[in-house]
């Protein structure tokens, strides 16, 4: 029986670690996206990844780490709040940009680096 409890503990921390690491990974991807993507709408898409998916994964990892405690319940409440507000904020920003007349960049986009240009 003690063996099983130990294995369960290991599995729990493994799951928590995997969730937090993937959350951190998505956050990195989102940050690179905000820096590198060509126009406003694609950047806001990258920012949306950090806002929702990465944060939810990080919070989930923390919940699994702390087990069935009051801390977990509070973290879950924070998660619900973020799950409601972050996509709404992204939606509001994109909508405001569209109403203000910002057009998305469509079609192929020339790389700013001379190496990638065909005529160079």
């Amino acid at each position: 029986m003690i063996e099983w409890a130990l294995w369960l503990e290991w599995a729990r921390y493994g799951l928590a670690g995997a969730m937090m690491l993937s959350g951190a990974g998505f956050m990195l991807i989102g940050s690179i996206g905000v820096m590198r993507l060509p126009d406003f709408y694609s950047r806001i898409h990258a920012a949306g990844i950090t806002d929702t998916l990465a944060t939810i994964l990080l919070l989930g990892g923390m919940i699994v780490t702390s087990g069935f405690t009051q801390t977990s319940a509070k973290l879950a409440l924070v998660g619900v709040l973020l799950f409601l507000t972050s996509p709404t904020a992204t939606h509001a920003i994109a909508n405001a940009a569209q109403k203000a007349g910002l057009k998305p960049r469509l079609g192929t986009i020339a790389s700013p680096h001379p190496r990638d240009r065909e005529d160079a």
Partner: protein, 365 residues
């Protein structure tokens, strides 16, 4: 089973110190960015970032009450008020003339050197002999359990031992609100409409949806996402404000934070559903009355204790048989006064700003 945080106290430098250093460096970077930028909109946003970073730093210093205030006031409501102020001026700062730039640099450098020189006399962090950790502060820590019996010593000091100082703070909040109302006007509907007409002829239409008109009631399906989420969030925010208010004896928080959180719920409502609806739910007259009523409740508590035979704000007079119960009762009353004044003043200032510009039409945002 219990996971402990991996901090080895024998290390020459512990993880929390590194964390503090990273946060402080980010504060410096944000401050430099604020100085270098010209776009007022970005500057206002960076002010919010600055406040959130300082709040995080306060948490790492174990000053949760201060962190809470910073997050609610600095990052929350002042960002909204600064955006409102920005809409009344322009989106870009004027370039500074070179002479003024050099003078400012000189003054800032001199002040910085003076401040760094002054830090040599400061006690080091956590020094047991520093003024904060000896004398009266320690006495409050030791006596709170027997005198007042609330777990959060910050609330005990703020509301009971230093109740007179807090009364001063509440009056300062009211005075600041009165000052803003004198400059901006009180944001009443009739006068504001006249001002808005004036503004509309002289300035281009504001691009930001800071205030929104024309909520056509439940039949309108305009911005259904924002409406649904706001309807879910507003009650939650108000409930949280009440929790912060009444749980202030046990956890971080109290009247100041709760008042600001309550005001931000109303501001969220007005951003989505329009000023007209908000004025109907919270009439400006009621809001102005509340900002005075809070000071009246606070000062009235003090007067009642005098009438009952004690000194000003001597809560023990409220229940002569059980001093601890009397203290709890007094703290509850004055925190209620703080809540009412802070919420009222914040909303009055917001109404003052919102009364100055024309609301956007529904189709324009």
């Amino acid at each position: 089973m219990e996971m402990t945080f991996p901090v080895d106290m024998n290390l020459p430098i512990n993880l929390f110190t590194i964390f503090d250093m990273v946060l402080l460096s980010m504060l410096v970077i944000v401050a430099i960015a604020i100085v270098r930028l010209n776009s007022l909109f970005s500057i206002v946003m960076l002010f919010g970032v600055y406040s959130l970073l300082s709040a995080t730093w306060f948490v790492s210093l174990d000053a949760v009450d201060v962190a809470f205030t910073e997050a609610a006031v600095g990052a929350g409501i002042s960002t909204v008020l600064m955006l409102g102020a920005m809409l009344l001026t322009s989106r870009e700062a004027l370039p500074t003339p070179p002479l003024r730039r050099w003078t400012s640099l000189l003054i800032v450098t001199a002040t910085g050197i003076a401040l760094i020189y002054a830090t040599f006399d400061m006690p080091s962090f956590g020094d047991a002999n520093s003024p904060a950790n000896s004398y009266v502060g320690m006495e409050y820590m030791a006596r709170t359990i027997t005198d007042i019996s609330v777990p959060n010593v910050v609330t005990a000091i703020l509301a009971s031992y230093r109740g007179f100082d807090t009364f001063g703070e509440v009056v300062v909040v009211l005075t600041a609100g009165l000052g803003v109302m004198l400059i901006l006007g009180i944001g009443g509907s009739k006068r504001a409409a006249g001002t808005a007409q004036l503004k509309a002829t002289s300035t281009p239409e504001p691009k930001l949806p800071v205030t929104v008109a024309g909520a056509k009631g439940p039949a309108s399906n305009h911005h259904v996402v924002l409406r649904v989420v706001a309807k879910m969030l507003v009650p939650m925010i108000v409930l949280y404000a009440l929790y912060v208010q009444f749980h202030g004896d046990y956890g971080p928080g109290g009247g100041f934070q709760a008042g600001v959180i309550f005001a931000s719920a109303v501001i969220l409502y007005s951003l989505i559903f329009g000023m007209e609806e908000t004025r109907r739910a919270f009439p400006p007259g009621l809001v102005r009355f509340c900002s005075v009523l809070g000071v009246f409740i606070y000062g009235g508590t003090g007067l009642v204790t005098i009438i009952l035979g004690g000194k000003f704000l001597d809560y023990n007079m409220l229940d002569k048989h059980d001093p601890i119960h009397a203290q709890h009762f007094g703290i509850l009353l004055i925190e209620l006064g703080v809540l009412v004044t802070v919420a009222g003043v914040m909303l009055s200032i917001y109404y003052g700003f919102a009364g100055r510009y024309r609301e956007l039409e529904d189709r324009n945002w």
